[in-house]
């Protein structure tokens, strides 16, 4: 579904991605973790070309993302993305947030878009808030709306960029619950997160990135958590810091 071959990226002279390759199959849930500055947010944003790359190839469902001739809006409309800071459109109501891209990008009619959007809103348990503005919701609620917004576009894959790291601790659970449900339904997901509990529970694979944009580990969940002795020193150091002792 997603294939990345030898991708490198620089901001000026600083290299943020260093020869990254990975493969995500349909229905897989892959968690990407690593210390801050390791380029994991950049990595996930290259998949829908929000961050262009200078070297390497990226394929999503057979479409060449790195190719300048690719119709990016069309590609992006099929790839759902959830951001760290939610990025709901604050001037639009919850319903309008859910429908605007369906109507303007996919060309759906208003009724169809609304029906689809409200169904997704119901799924994240926020139907009662459909007429509110984002600023009137809590962080956890906003993030759930953001997930519903991405889902209402019927994406073939969902990208999550640290979806819980801007949330107050008591709201992390409600967002993770929605994501666990999605994974159980077989959605292909790539998740940048520090929530190792989530990784343990639902992921198939874990990718560990280190400073400088290297992919240091790409291994099955059971191997990653079950065989810590076999991990790279940097990975062990990282896991020691964030795993409960």
């Amino acid at each position: 579904m997603i294939e990345m071959k030898n991708v490198s990226k620089w901001y000026g002279a600083t290299q943020v991605l260093n020869d990254c390759s990975l493969n995500i199959d349909k229905g897989e849930v892959v968690v990407v973790c690593g210390p801050s500055g390791s380029g994991k947010s950049t990595l996930i944003k290259t998949i829908n070309a929000l961050e262009p790359v200078q070297k390497g190839e990226i394929w999503v469902d057979g479409v060449a993302v790195h190719d300048r001739a690719t119709n990016l809006p069309k590609l992006r409309s099929r790839v759902g993305m959830v951001f760290q800071h939610f990025e709901l459109f604050p001037h639009l109501t919850v319903t309008d947030n859910l429908t605007i891209a369906q109507m303007k990008v996919l060309g759906r009619g208003q009724d169809e878009a609304k029906q689809r959007g409200l169904k997704m809103l119901e799924r994240v348990g926020l139907t009662a808030h459909k007429d509110k503005f984002p600023g009137q919701l809590s962080g956890g609620q906003q993030q759930r709306v953001a997930i519903a917004r991405a889902l209402s576009m019927d994406p073939i894959v969902m990208l999550f960029d640290e979806p819980t790291s801007a949330l107050d601790p008591e709201m992390v659970g409600e967002v993770l619950d929605v994501m666990v449900g999605l994974a159980a339904e077989g959605m292909t997901m790539m998740v940048v997160t520090h929530e190792m509990g989530f990784a343990r529970k639902v992921s198939n694979r874990v990718i560990f990135m280190d400073v400088g944009g290297h992919i240091l580990e790409d291994t099955s969940k059971d191997e990653f958590f079950g065989n810590i002795e076999a991990r790279q020193p940097r990975t062990r150091e990282f896991l020691n810091k964030i795993l409960p002792h």
């Binding site: 992006r76 951001f83 939610f86 459109f89 604050p90 605007i100 984002p134 600023g135 919701l137």
Partner: protein, 244 residues
Amino acid sequence: MTYWQDIWDRWQFLWDDRGDGVTYWQWMFSAWGYTVAVAAVSLVVALAIGCLVGTLRTVSQHRVVSALATGWVELFRNIPVLVQLFLWFFVISEIVPGMRGVPSFVLACCALGFFTSARIAEQVRAGIQALPRGQRQAALAMGFTQLQAYRYVILPQTFRIIIPPLTSEAMNIVKNSSVAFAVSIPELISFAMQTQEETSRGIEVYLAATVLYIITALAISWFMSILEKRARVPGLSSQGQGAH
């Protein structure tokens, strides 16, 4: 009582005929009308150009376009409005083919509108750049084209942010319209200067003109505050930021 009588007498000139069947009273209101009309038309010109140029300055992938937009802003921002007015009247209308015979009202509105467009462009640019970067990314991530991202996500939020600076720009344009006296547009300053000369009632005339300027300014701030209330989004501060 003679004191009040005296004051009353000092304002009597307003009902005098200027010699052409028009009283100073009537002239004053037509002058006010000119001030408002010049300001209003210029504001429309300035808003149209300013929004376009300010938006283009944020389109970083087209170097030439954003450089042209920057050049526009610097050119019209760094020459005094009075000098720009003279340029339109004595240079552009002289040497640009087809500009000869353009009515002076139109030239004045071009001068004021272009001058103000540079300032509005700066506010539009600042407003766009004040939005969280993620908003643009979120719009693109959903499959919007650049144009759609501006149309549905970025500009609607920008306009809410820049209503306060636009209010002061609207007031500025009324104040700046006063330079039109220098090219004989019959607006409030022209009226004040000429009536002062003809009647020697300087204090009264200036007072009348000043009060009319203040009334205009109050009207604008009242109108814009209504606009701001209309545009307000629940849960969103005027800074245009969401939670975080």
